[in-house]
Symmetry: C2
DNA sequence: TATTGTTATACTCTATAACTATA
DNA sequence: TATAGTTATAGAGTATAACAATA
């Protein structure tokens, strides 16, 4: 933490995964909003749209589980996306409790228009690291984050 | 993301630092609350107490800067800690705008009683990784997170 | 004028519990 | 009974703007 606020001893936290994850995420998110803030999308909502583009007809609960978002919260986000005309719902015949989600044509256009900027930003969001270090970090985070869904 | 929800294609996010950081932090925090929830401390508040133990008399704004917490939010957190009797304020002679923070004896006892459990938990919070991988991850996050304070 | 801290406010994210409708 | 989704609500966390006191 040598580059931190001078004169403040944070050495006790240098081995704390939780502390370093919070600081790192905050830094990345701050850059995200500074660069992509005017694009009319939050990281969370865009993640959902992108996941639906790659998984058309995905059920709401399965999506919530994959992204580690509680179903109660997913319901609210999806409602907002439906209200904006970006996502459509469909109740399948074989299980009328479930809801299948799809991008509307507007949603697909919305994603297509922004994903370039989104991923370009993401690629450039860690100038502190070399390309090799970035790849190593991504690999370790993938291993750490491997999801197993909601714990009720 | 092979261990994720089966049948959901999240490959588009496997190179997104922001996405993986969010998932990782969420996992680590969930474990934190599951294990240490009854200990009467949130990660944020405990971080502040620990930082004050290692940096007695630290000024509020400097602390906020070091921990990447906005001053407006730090004011609220500090007030709560003062109300709980864990932190004391002192206005220095040479700059009567500033506030120096210290742990009270109660605050010091509070930290001493909990830091063992806190760091023990942190050490065990990433069973997905080998010791070597964990060290590598910590090093990369340190490099990425090297703070530079609030951007006004 | 600039800085330190405070208040007020709002928005996002997260979590739980109680509800409905279907199975 | 159990599951899928919804609603209501509450709590952190974070952001900005306006303000008072001090420098």
């Amino acid at each position: 933490m040598s580059g931190a606020a001078p004169g403040v001893d944070l050495s006790r936290f240098e081995s704390s995964l939780g502390f370093l994850l919070r600081l790192s995420q905050q830094k990345i998110f701050a850059r995200f909003f500074a660069t992509l803030g005017p694009l009319d999308l939050t990281p969370g909502a865009f993640t959902i749209l992108l996941a639906l583009r790659d998984n058309p007809g995905l059920r709401q609960g399965v999506l919530a589980n994959a992204l580690m978002i509680k179903r109660a919260n997913m319901a609210k986000i999806v409602r907002a996306l439906v209200d904006r005309g970006l996502v459509s719902r469909h109740v399948p015949e074989d299980d009328r409790r479930a809801i299948e989600l799809n991008l509307t044509p507007e949603g697909a256009a919305f994603v297509a228009a922004r994903e370039g900027a989104f991923f370009a930003h993401d690629d450039e969001s860690s100038p502190e690291l070399t390309d090799n270090e970035r790849e190593t970090l991504l690999g370790l985070l993938r291993k750490l984050a491997g999801t197993q869904g909601e714990t009720p």
